[in-house]
Assembly symmetry: C2
Homo-oligomer: 244 residues x 2
DNA sequence: CGGACCTTTGACCGCGGTCAACCTATGTGG
DNA sequence: CCACATAGGTTGACCGCGGTCAAAGGTCCG
């Protein structure tokens, strides 16, 4: 039986600019590669980890996309985030010896790189640059969670949906993909749940945006026709205060 | 002129059980103490740091309480969290060389311990236990931010207000204070803004809870008379699933 | 081609926002 | 000590956004 782990090659990975090896010296990268596990592909709706699992590893999306959510006490779920290539998952695992605080599943066929926390911590002690990059990645994650809180705060349904589209757009853009034409890999249900809205409201908002000509929607496919119009919806009076 | 920094004594600090020195060997603690700055008290409404400031330090609340918020583009603010003694602030600073992503102000006269990131990172390389504890503290912070997202998701005004009271209650309890009688250090405006509600709605919800006998409110003072009633509001059908 | 699932669209209504008035606590100056 | 001002908090009346319920259209499976 073949190993489920594939050969790891961080140097030639397209995501090396945003992942943990970033900034490392050339001869430090092999040290990191030895602790990375690259699992076999994960199919749509398969669990990456569950809320009750002992948490031991961080994960970085290599391809595909994921969704994580928390079971609330009534059995319902609250989606807390979506993850695209290069993004880190399982940061609750920083508290070693504890359990994951959320469940993460694949939205489509996907693959990840797995970093066991114990060995990563150890390596951070030896490679200061790795420590710095880990902190940087964690900091970015915290900032993006703060942005989610702002998104869910005092915002109308229109603002939420538009902000969501713009967030996805800029994340694809950062990966080198088109910022104006992309596919939503998650069903409406997940978007609605994430935004604190209902499926119907999301659908209606997308309908309105389509009628206004700002976007074109075909099922999961999104095309942004008027980026400025979208930005003006979430930032009605763009002052000079933040033009830096 | 006297130094603005007071003598640091982590060993005798009441918060040592939740702060960064936790788990360290006795002779490692002085090393940490040398990098901590303890600033003069901060008065109500004074800034601890601002959104545009270069970020260089983490802070732990020593006494008093804080609120942090993000300016949105329209000039309004979105409160993203409240901080009680022992809680960590300024984690956006993990991305060194960047700027704080939110602004933090004191809700009342307060004091903090300041940990410069550069020196803390350095020390983490030398003291593995410190690295572990830092990761643990960061992990807890991330988990609590995830909980905030769940709080703001698909919840009614009643659920939000009750959850807020229970969160504050359990945090005071963890500090060794009463979980049933405490003062809210923030005005209604901040609570409402944090929960994505209006002042009037928060006030009405507190009014209803008072009428039902579950709580007694006197201005900022809260007394919880029926903890179970509150818990049942946010967890209507408490199944055996999570009784662990 | 049938069936399951996802998505859209419409009609209705209730929760929570908005506006306004009033109440309460605290502080200041005469 | 009271008169007054100010900020924070409460309460009521009204109404619109978005949730709920229902039904119909689309898409992707086998």
């Amino acid at each position: 039986m073949e190993s489920i782990f594939q050969k790891v090659d961080c140097v030639n990975c397209k995501l090396s600019g945003v992942c943990l090896p970033y900034g490392l010296k050339r001869d430090d990268i092999p040290k990191l590669e030895t602790i990375v596990k690259r699992k076999r592909p994960i199919k749509a709706d398969e669990y990456l980890y569950r809320q009750e699992d002992q948490c031991t590893s961080l994960f970085v999306v290599k391809s595909g996309s994921f969704r994580s959510f928390i079971w609330n006490v009534n059995g319902g779920e609250q989606t807390i985030g979506f993850y695209l290539p290069g993004e880190i998952m399982g940061l609750d695992a920083l508290r070693q010896q504890s359990k994951y605080h959320c469940t993460t599943i694949a939205l489509e066929t996907a693959s990840v790189c797995e970093f066991p926390m114990a060995r990563l911590n150890e390596l951070c002690g030896k490679i200061p640059k790795l420590q710095m990059q880990l902190m940087c990645v964690i900091g970015s994650h915290i900032v993006s969670e703060q942005n989610n809180i702002v998104l869910l705060g005092n915002r109308s349904a229109t603002e939420k949906v538009v902000t969501f589209l713009l967030m996805i757009s800029s994340r694809y853009n950062a990966l080198g993909y088109s910022s104006t034409e992309f596919n939503l890999t998650m069903p409406r249900h997940d978007i609605a749940n994430f935004l604190g809205l209902t499926i119907e409201t999301v659908s209606r908002q997308l309908g309105c945006l389509t009628k206004s000509g700002a976007i074109t929607i075909k099922h999961r496919g999104v095309q942004i026709n008027d980026m400025d119009k979208l930005k003006n919806i979430v930032e009605p009076c763009l002052t000079k205060r933040f033009t830096s």
